[in-house]
Amino acid sequence: MTSKTFKGFAILASLILTFGLAQAEPKKVGFIYVGPVGDFGWSYEHDQGRLAVEEAFGDQVETSYVESVPEGADAERVLTQMALAGNELIFTTSFGYMDPTINVAAKFPDVKFEHATGYKRADNVSTYSARFYEGRAVIGHIAGKMTKTNQIGYIASFPIPEVIRGINSAYIHAKKANPDVEFKIVWVFTWFDPAKEADAAQTLIEQGVDVIMQHTDSTAPMTIAEEKGIFAFGQASDMMEFGPTARLSSIIDNWAPYYVARTQALVDGAWESVDTWDGISTGMVEIGEFSDRIPENVRADAQAMSDAISNGSYHPFTGPINRQDGSAWLGDGEIADDGTLLGMNFYVEGISGSIPN
C-alpha cells in the first residue's frame, strides 16, 4: 500500500467516523446538586427531574450529575469540568451556585446554564425558581389550625429572601387561621446537616412547639417529629416514610416538566435565556396529600386556598400587611409585586425576633 492510498483511506475513515459519531452523539445535559441525591429533599427532587429528562429523551440526551458540591469555589471547579466534559446544558440547582454559574458561563459562551432560585442572568444563563411561598401559605394555614400549644417551630437555613418569604407567607396564613399563633424561628445556617437539623427540631420541641416547618433539606426534623409525636410537613419532597403519623402534608418541588421543556428547547436549538417563576398553577409547586389527622373542614379550606392560588384569584401576599416594625407595606387589597418578593428582607408584623445578618 502506497502512502498516498493510505492517506486517502485515513481521510475517508475519519470522515465516516466523524459523520457517524455526529449522527449518534447525544446531547449532554449536566446537573450539579448541593446535597446527596439520597437526601430525600431538595437534591432528590432535582434528580427526579433529571431522571424525567432521561425518560423523555431516551438516547437523544445523555445526563450526568455531581452531588454534594459545596457552594463557592468548589462549585466553580466542578462547573468548569462539566463544561469541558461537553455538557451543552447545565442545571445548577442551589442559590449559592449563582456567582460560580455566572463566572463559568462567561468562560463558556456556547454552553447553556440554568440556575435555580437566583437572580443573575446572562445570554447563556437562565434562572428558574418556584413560588414555594404559595405552598407555605397552604401549610401555614394547616399548621395554625393543628397546633394545640399555639407554638409553631420553623427551622430556617440562611437569611436569604427565598427563606424569609417562606416564613412570612407561612406566618400570615397561620395567624389568619389561629390569631394566638406564635412562631419560633431557629436559623441553622446550613442547607443540609442532619445532626444540626435534628438538634434544632429537638430544641424547638423542648420549647413547647407542636408543629414544625423546615426550610432545610434533610429528613431529620421529620424523623424527630415522628419520634416525639408532634406534627411536621414534608419539605421539597413528600417525606411520608420518615413520619407516617407526624407528616400533615408537604410541599413538593416538581422540576420535571421544566427540565424536560428546557432540554427540548436545547434539542430544537430554540434555547433562550429566560426567567421562570412558577407556582402551584403549573405544578412546579405541589401540595402533598393531606393527612387523615387533619379535620375534614381544615382539609377543605386548605384545598380551597390551594385552588384559589392556582387559578389566580388569591395571592398569598394580599394587603393589608404591615412590616414587623408596624409600618405599612401593603394597603387593603394590594398585592405584592414580584420585585419586592424577590428581594424580601423583612419580617411581617407579628413575628418576633430579628433576621440575622
Partner: protein, 310 residues
C-alpha cells in the same frame, strides 16, 4: 422571651445525649495519646463507625450488631493506622490525616445505597419508678443504653489508667518509650492495643450519631466532630473526667445557641458557634501559661517515632 423559657432540666438531658459522640471519640483518643501516639484520623474512624453501624442495625434490626459493627469498623481502620505507624514507621501526623480522608471517602462509597433510610429505633432502658421521679428522673434516667455505657467507660478508663499495672505500663510507654522498652515492655504491642481501643471508641461515637442522635446515614455526617475530639483531649489535659466537662461544653454551646434563638434572645449565632473553639484556645493558653505545665501534662513521647534498637 427570656432565659426562663429554657428548661434547665431538659436542656441538661439533651446536652448529655448530644455530647456522647465527641465524648467517646475523645476518650479513645486520650488513651491513644497516653500511649504516646497521635492519631489525627479520629474523624475518619468516626464516620466509618457511623456508616458500618448504620448498615448493620438496618440490615439486622439489632442494636447490638449495630454497636458491634461500629466498634469493629473503627477498630479495624485504626489497626491500619497502627500497622502503618508502629510496624512500618510511617509519619503519624501524615498517616492520621490520610486516615481521615480515606474514612470520609470510603464511608461515602459504602453508604451510598443507605442514604435517607430510617433505621430501627434504638431501645432505651426502663427504670420504672426511677424514671418518673420529678427532677432526678429527667436528669439521670431518660437516656439510651449507650449514654450509660459511655459514662461507665470514662470511669473504667480513668481507673485502668491511674490505678492498675496495665495503665502504668501504658503511661510509661507514652512518657518514655525507650526506657519502657529497656525495661522489657513491648512498646509496639501496647501501642497497637491502645490504637485499636481508640478506633473502637471513635467508631462507636460515630455509630451513636447515625443510629441514635439523628438517626439516619448521610455522607459527611460527623461534620468535624472528630477534630473537636482531638481539641478536647488537649482541653482535658489528658484526664478522663475532664473529657466529660469538655464534651458538655462543646455539646452545650451548640444547643444553647439553638435554644437562645428559639426563645428569641438576640445573639448572633456566629458568636456562639465559635465559642467552644475560643474556649479551647483560652484553656490552652491558661494551661501552658502556668509555668510549663502543658509540657508536663502531655505524654513525653507523644507523636515520636519508636524504633527498636535491638
Amino acid at each position: 422571651m427570656d432565659f426562663a423559657a429554657i428548661n434547665p432540666l431538659i436542656f441538661f438531658s439533651t446536652m448529655v445525649a448530644a455530647s456522647i459522640p465527641v465524648l467517646l471519640a475523645a476518650l479513645g483518643e486520650l488513651v491513644v495519646e497516653k500511649s504516646g501516639v497521635l492519631n489525627l484520623g479520629v474523624e475518619g474512624m468516626m464516620i466509618i463507625g457511623a456508616v458500618c453501624g448504620f448498615i448493620a442495625i438496618y440490615n439486622s434490626g439489632s442494636p447490638f450488631f449495630g454497636v458491634l459493627a461500629s466498634i469493629v469498623a473503627g477498630g479495624l481502620l485504626a489497626l491500619v493506622f497502627g500497622i502503618l505507624t508502629q510496624v512500618l514507621h510511617s509519619n503519624q501526623v501524615a498517616t492520621g490525616l490520610a486516615l481521615t480522608l480515606f474514612g470520609l471517602g470510603l464511608s461515602a462509597l459504602i453508604g451510598q445505597p443507605f442514604a435517607g433510610i430510617k433505621p430501627p429505633t434504638f431501645p432505651k432502658p426502663d427504670f420504672g419508678f426511677l424514671g418518673d421521679m420529678p427532677v432526678l428522673g429527667q436528669l439521670f434516667f431518660k437516656y439510651d443504653y449507650l449514654v450509660y455505657a459511655a459514662f461507665l467507660l470514662v470511669i473504667v478508663v480513668s481507673y485502668v489508667l491511674n490505678r492498675t499495672r496495665a495503665g502504668l505500663i501504658l503511661r510509661s510507654i507514652g512518657e518514655n518509650h525507650d526506657a519502657a522498652h529497656a525495661l522489657g515492655y513491648n512498646v509496639v504491642r501496647v501501642r497497637l492495643a491502645a490504637i485499636v481501643f481508640g478506633g473502637g471508641c471513635a467508631g462507636l461515637g460515630g455509630g451513636y450519631l447515625a443510629m441514635i442522635r439523628v438517626p439516619q446515614w448521610t455522607e459527611g455526617m460527623t461534620a468535624g466532630v472528630g477534630w473537636i475530639a482531638l481539641a478536647l483531649v488537649v482541653f482535658a489535659s489528658w484526664r478522663p473526667y475532664r473529657v466529660i466537662l469538655g464534651a458538655f461544653l462543646f455539646g452545650g454551646v451548640t444547643l444553647l445557641q439553638l435554644n437562645l434563638q428559639a426563645v428569641g434572645i438576640k445573639i448572633n449565632p456566629a458568636y456562639l458557634s465559635m465559642a467552644p473553639y475560643i474556649i479551647t484556645i483560652v484553656a490552652l493558653v491558661v494551661i501552658s501559661g502556668s509555668s510549663n505545665r502543658l509540657s508536663n501534662l502531655a505524654p513525653g513521647s507523644l507523636g515520636r517515632l519508636f524504633h527498636k534498637t535491638m
